[in-house]
Each structure stands twice: as C-alpha cells, then as structure tokens.
C-alpha cells in the first residue's frame, strides 16, 4: 500500500457561541490516497465545510478551535506546524476553492494580480514568469483570450468564468490536494456540468487528489471514487461510490439516495424526503444522532452512539447498530414514510 496523502484521526473542531459549544466536527477519521477523489456529502451543518477549514487550519480562534485529533498530510501532522510552515502548504500543497465564485475574488484587484500573487507566493519565479504561468493556468481552464483577461477585474467575469479562475488559481501551484467546497452550488446547471467535467479532467491529468464537499449526490456520482456521508458532525457511512450508491447500509444514506431525482426512469413515482431536521449540534441527542429521524430506531439506538465499523467485503464502513439486519436496498424508497414519523 502506498503512503497515505492525508490521514485524519479523531478530529474534533468545536465553536463556542453565546448559546453553548457547537460540536461542528465531532470525532471523525478518514484517509485519502494520492490522486483519490472523495466526495463529502451531508446536509448543511453536518460539519463538511468545518472539516475542510480544519484541514486548511483556517478555523479562527477564539470562536473556533480544533480540540483534538491529528491531520497527517504526507506524514506530517499539520496541527503541529508553525504558522509559517502552514502558509507554505496553504495554496501550495493544498489548495481550496469555495462555494460562491461571485464573492471569493477580491473585487479591487485584477484577476492577473490575484493569480500572480498566488504563484509568486509558492514558486520562486520572477513576476514575468509568474504572468506566463498565470496565462497558462487560465488557458488550462479554457478561458478564451487569457492574456487580455488577466487585466480584467472579477466583476467583468460571469459566475462560471470566475469559478474557472478560482480553479486556475487553486491548480496554478500544482497542489497534491484540492479541496472544493461546494464549487458548483452557486452556478446554473449547465455551467455546473462544464465545471465538473473540467475539474475531473484537470485532476486526472495531474493526479491531484480532490476532496469534494457537496450536498449533491449527482455531482459525486460522476466525479468521485469514494464517498463519506456526514451527519451532525460525524461520519455515518463511507465507501466506494459503487457500494454506497448500490448498497447503502445506513438509513440516512438510504434516505439521501431516495431524495435524489432519478433520470433513468426506475423510480418515477414520488421523491422521498427525510422527516424532521438535523439535531442542534449544541444539544446532541444521547445515542445515535440520527435516531430522532430514523424509522428503524430501536431501544439501543437511544442509548449508545454507534461506532463506525467495516461492513461487507469491500471498503465500506457504517455507523449503525442495525446495519446487518436491515436490508435497505430491497426496501422501496418511494413509500412516503414521512407522515408516520412526524405525526
């Protein structure tokens, strides 16, 4: 087995607010192989973005704090690095692109300024060479007329074009890992597809590992090798895309899949929805966090928090007490369960 690119163990990131301590990420562990593309899926507030910000060490004290855990990147624990060393990794070895391309670029500097700044920060090249690299980066993300567009300001680009610029900026220093936090959520559907295709091509060509954070399972299906499903600050299920999609073991994953629009015509009838809302991460329920919304909950679920454990022959793992006894794939997800739970 090759050396892991990223190895996270028991990461806990908490925020203190007026209302109490928010356990945004509460004890998650996962690995990433070099070149692996992994989808991180979950509802808003499940801790996906906080995981990403923790890896980048962009959690701002005093409000937020990484309480425990290790984040090993190429064998080095990022949490033990000094601020200077971390700065060399940010943007250089690990790059990140964000959800809203309309606001993620500084409005008062040209695209060229911002690209050249990044390149010169991590590669020891002259300003002229940095410009050349910047033009190449823009051409790689298929921005027409790249040399001239360097002089333009962000507001002169459309949303999709700006996200291309963000990708160019992220990949300009050939990082080993690209974290993409909902990169296409703010874009329209056609642009979404184009951007995802582009990212897939660039990542494959360069062998860049990608951590794709999204709530859109459709995006994951076409892009990722592996998936981890997050719920209320913890990972409830992980495995290869095939396993998760064809053989979900956790009722939450099963519910998520049921809420997808399917285009193959198999399940036309009615979209499934998961009843209720995610728990407040301040007052987490005792036992399984999904229990209040789970239709298969039994006595033990209300008392013991299930640990994540391997299941089946593949790499799939799940955090559910009843994973073995439940055969979720035979259940018809089109049945509307919501009413029974809510009333």
């Amino acid at each position: 087995m090759t050396e892991k690119l990223l190895k996270i163990e028991d990461l806990r990131t908490y925020f203190s607010t007026e209302e109490g301590v928010v356990r945004a990420v509460d004890g998650i562990s996962f690995d990433l192989e070099p070149g692996e593309r992994r989808g991180v899926v979950g509802e808003s507030g499940s801790g996906k973005s906080v995981t990403a910000m923790s890896i980048m060490r962009l959690i701002e004290p005093p409000a937020g704090e990484i309480v425990t855990g290790t984040i090993e990147f190429k064998g080095e624990n990022l949490l033990e690095l000094g601020e200077d060393e971390m700065q060399a990794i940010r943007g250089g070895k690990i790059a990140m692109i964000f959800q809203d391309p309309m606001t993620a670029l500084n409005p008062v500097y040209t695209i060229g300024d911002q690209l050249v700044e990044t390149i010169m920060l991590h590669q020891h090249v002259s300003k002229k060479d940095a410009r050349g690299i910047a033009i190449k980066a823009l051409e790689d993300v298929q921005i027409p007329n790249a040399p001239a567009r360097l002089e333009d300001y962000p507001h002169q680009f459309s949303g999709g074009m700006r996200q291309r610029v963000m990708i160019a900026m992220g990949l300009s220093c050939n990082p080993d890992l690209l974290i993409a936090d909902e990169p296409t959520t703010a874009l329209d559907v056609t642009t979404q597809a184009q951007i995802m295709d582009l990212m897939l091509k660039l990542a494959e060509d360069r062998g860049t590992a990608v951590l794709l954070i999204t709530h859109d399972l459709g995006v994951v299906a076409g892009f990722c090798d592996t998936i981890q499903v997050m719920y209320a600050g913890g990972i409830v299920e992980e495995g290869s895309v095939e396993d998760i999609f064809h053989n979900p073991q956790h009722p939450y994953t099963w519910g998520l899949l049921g809420s997808m629009t399917r285009l193959d015509g198999k399940h036309r009838a009615r979209l499934h929805s998961i009843a209720g809302a995610p728990p407040s991460v301040i007052d987490l329920p005792v036992g399984c966090r999904f229990r209040p919304r789970c239709e298969f909950a039994i006595d033990i679920c209300g008392r013991v928090l299930p640990a994540i454990r391997p299941i089946g022959e593949g790499d799939q793992s799940v955090a559910c007490h009843r994973a073995e006894e439940l055969d979720l794939k035979t259940l018809d997800v089109d049945v509307d369960h919501t009413k029974e739970v809510a009333s």
Binding site: E19, A24, S44, G276, A277, P292, A342
Partner: protein
C-alpha cells in the same frame, strides 16, 4: 449551525410536540423586548429618558408646589442682596433668601433643592434652570423627531413607491435640501427669526420655532433611506403575492411595505433626535437659538463657561452634564433599537 429555513423549524416544532414537549410561540414583540432587554445600556438609557420626560413635564407643577425654585427669579438673602454665584451645597445650607409674598418680603430658608447645584451670576437656582432647560431640549427632540419621521417617511415612500417622474422630482428636492449646509443656514434663520414681524411670538423666540427650523432641514437622510427600503421591498415576493391577491396600493403600502420599513425609520429618527438636540444647544450657545429668559442647556453652557473662567464652574458642569447624558442616552437607545429591530438576528430558545 442549522440553517434557519422555515420548513425545518416548523418540523422541529412538530417533532418536539410529537415528543410531548410544550412549545410556546414567540411573537415579534417578545423577540423585540427580549433583545432590547439584553442591551443593558439601552435599558438604562430608556429609564433615564423616561424619568427626564416626566421630570420636565411636571416641572411647572413642582415649581407651583414650591419644591423647586422659579428658574427666572433671583434668589435674595434676608437683607435683599442677590445670591450671585453661590457654590452648590446640600440641604444643610445656611443661606436664607426672601420672596415677595403678597407684597411683603418674607425670609425663607433655602429649600433643599434651591442651591443643590448652586446659583448663577444673576442669583438664579442652577438646579431649577437645568430642569427647565431640559424642556427646551426635549421639545426640540420630540418635535424634530415627529417632523423628520413624518416628512422623511412620506417623501421617501412616495418616491420609492411611484418610480419615474414622482421619484425623480422628489429625490431632486431631497438632494437639494441635503445640499444645504445645515448649521450656517440654521444660524441665519435663528438670528432673524425674532425680527420677522408677522410671526406669532411663540415661533419667534421659543424652542418650537427652532424645532420647526431644524425639522424642515433634517428630513433628507431619512427620506433617502425610506426610498431605498421601498424600492427593495416593492420587488419582494410577498408584495407581488399581495398584489396578485387583489390588494390596492394603500393596503400594500400600509399593510405590507411600511411595517417592514419601520426599523430603519425608528432607528434613524432616534439618531436625528440626538443630533437635533445638539444643534439646538449649539444655536442657543451662539445666541441664535432659544432666546432668554427661557433657560436652555446650550445657553447655560455658554454663560457657565464665562463664569467658569472666573472659577464658578458649577453652572457649566451641571448644564453640560445634563446635555451630554441626555444625548448619550438617546444614542444608546438608538443603538439598542438597531440591534433589537434587526430581523436578521436570531434568538435561540433556551
């Protein structure tokens, strides 16, 4: 960390009820008062202002009851000498003064309040004058607040609701008023106001005239804010929905738009009231505001300053302190209202 989406909160309530928890509804007023109460300074300010309003309202009654002295009369001691520039002293003060009662000179021991703040260079009780001076400031505050709120809301909402010609002409007019330099113009008006023959006397020298003057110069900022609010609210879905349901302009404005625009109106008006009190005080300080003998804090600071040069510090200190603490209270209240009325803030159930 949950998103405050409407659907999810409703189902959270449903769930909680399903589990047998009692949920009490939170009304808009509950939210408002909870947030305002959390803002401690604003609460102190509100209590202070309430107390001040009551005090200046009942001041004439207190004077007739003999609890405080006449703000316009000099205090005289037993030998008929005017008690000029007496430093502040408590109720154990030994100063006696006389009053003419039914044509007779009657010697009276200084009431406990007479010299609590000392006396000014004409021997008048600074304590009484500070209380009566508050009347001018508060009248200016209330009247300017009313004028600005009414004019600003009216003009701003007309401009924001009727685009095109109405909007253009009203906003040009607003820009024009905003372009007038407030203090220099107010000084000119304040200077000549008492000399305009056809004006009634209450307008010439009293606080009402000054209040009207400031009010008519100061509504422009609020009009702009209200217009901007109307412009954005007019496009909102709930207004479209109301229109689709057949609501007329009047109903849309008064039921749907105006209530949503209330918080900037209230906050801005509060801040203008504070500024208006300062401008009135400045005019009176320069001698172009409320004319003597009506006491005002601005004029008292001017006179007190001249006295302080000679070592008689109390008139300036007490009148200045009254002025600053009143404006400070209004500004704190405005800040508290801003926080409390901000609908984007969330409040957690405890």
């Amino acid at each position: 960390m949950t998103e405050p989406g409407k659907d999810s909160s409703i189902s959270a309530v449903d769930l909680a009820e399903a589990e047998g928890m009692a949920i009490e509804p939170i009304t808009q007023w509950d939210l408002f008062s909870t947030r305002l109460r959390r803002h401690r300074l604003a609460m102190v300010a509100a209590v202070f202002l309430g107390f001040l309003i009551i005090l200046v309202t009942v001041a004439p009654a207190m004077q007739s009851a003999g609890w405080i002295d006449d703000a316009a009369k000099s205090l005289v001691d037993g030998d008929g000498r005017i008690l000029r520039n007496i430093p502040p002293r408590g109720s154990d003060g030994t100063v006696f003064y006389t009053e003419i009662v039914d044509g007779e000179k009657v010697a009276i021991q200084a009431s406990s309040t007479a010299l609590i703040f000392g006396s000014d260079d004409l021997g008048r009780s600074v304590f009484s004058r500070v209380i009566f001076g508050g009347r001018a400031s508060l009248i200016v505050g209330v009247v300017v607040g009313l004028i600005v709120a009414l004019l600003g809301t009216l003009i701003g909402s007309l401009a924001g609701f009727y685009p095109g010609g109405v909007d253009q002409s009203l906003m040009r007019f607003t820009d024009l008023v905003l372009g007038l330099p407030l203090l220099p113009v107010a000084i000119v008006v304040g200077r000549i106001l008492p000399e305009i023959d056809f004006l009634p006397s209450w307008l010439k020298a009293g606080p009402l005239g000054i209040a009207l003057l400031i009010g008519f110069l100061a509504w422009g900022g609020l009009a702009r804010i209200v217009r901007a609010e109307f412009l954005s609210l007019r496009e909102k879905e709930f207004v479209e929905a109301a229109r689709a349901a057949g609501a007329g302009d009047r109903r849309i404005v008064f039921r749907h738009i105006l209530p949503n625009a209330m918080s900037p109106i209230i906050v801005q008006t509060t801040l203008i009231i504070g500024a208006a009190i300062i401008i009135e005080a400045a005019l009176s300080f320069l001698g172009f505001g409320v004319r003597p003998p009506t006491p005002t804090w601005g004029a008292m600071v001017a006179q007190g300053g001249r006295m302080a040069v000679r070592g008689f510090w109390w008139e300036m200190i007490f009148s200045g302190f009254a002025l600053v603490s009143t404006v400070l209270a209004i500004n704190f209240l405005g800040d508290g209202l801003r926080d409390a009325l901000d609908p984007t803030q969330t409040i957690e159930r405890k």
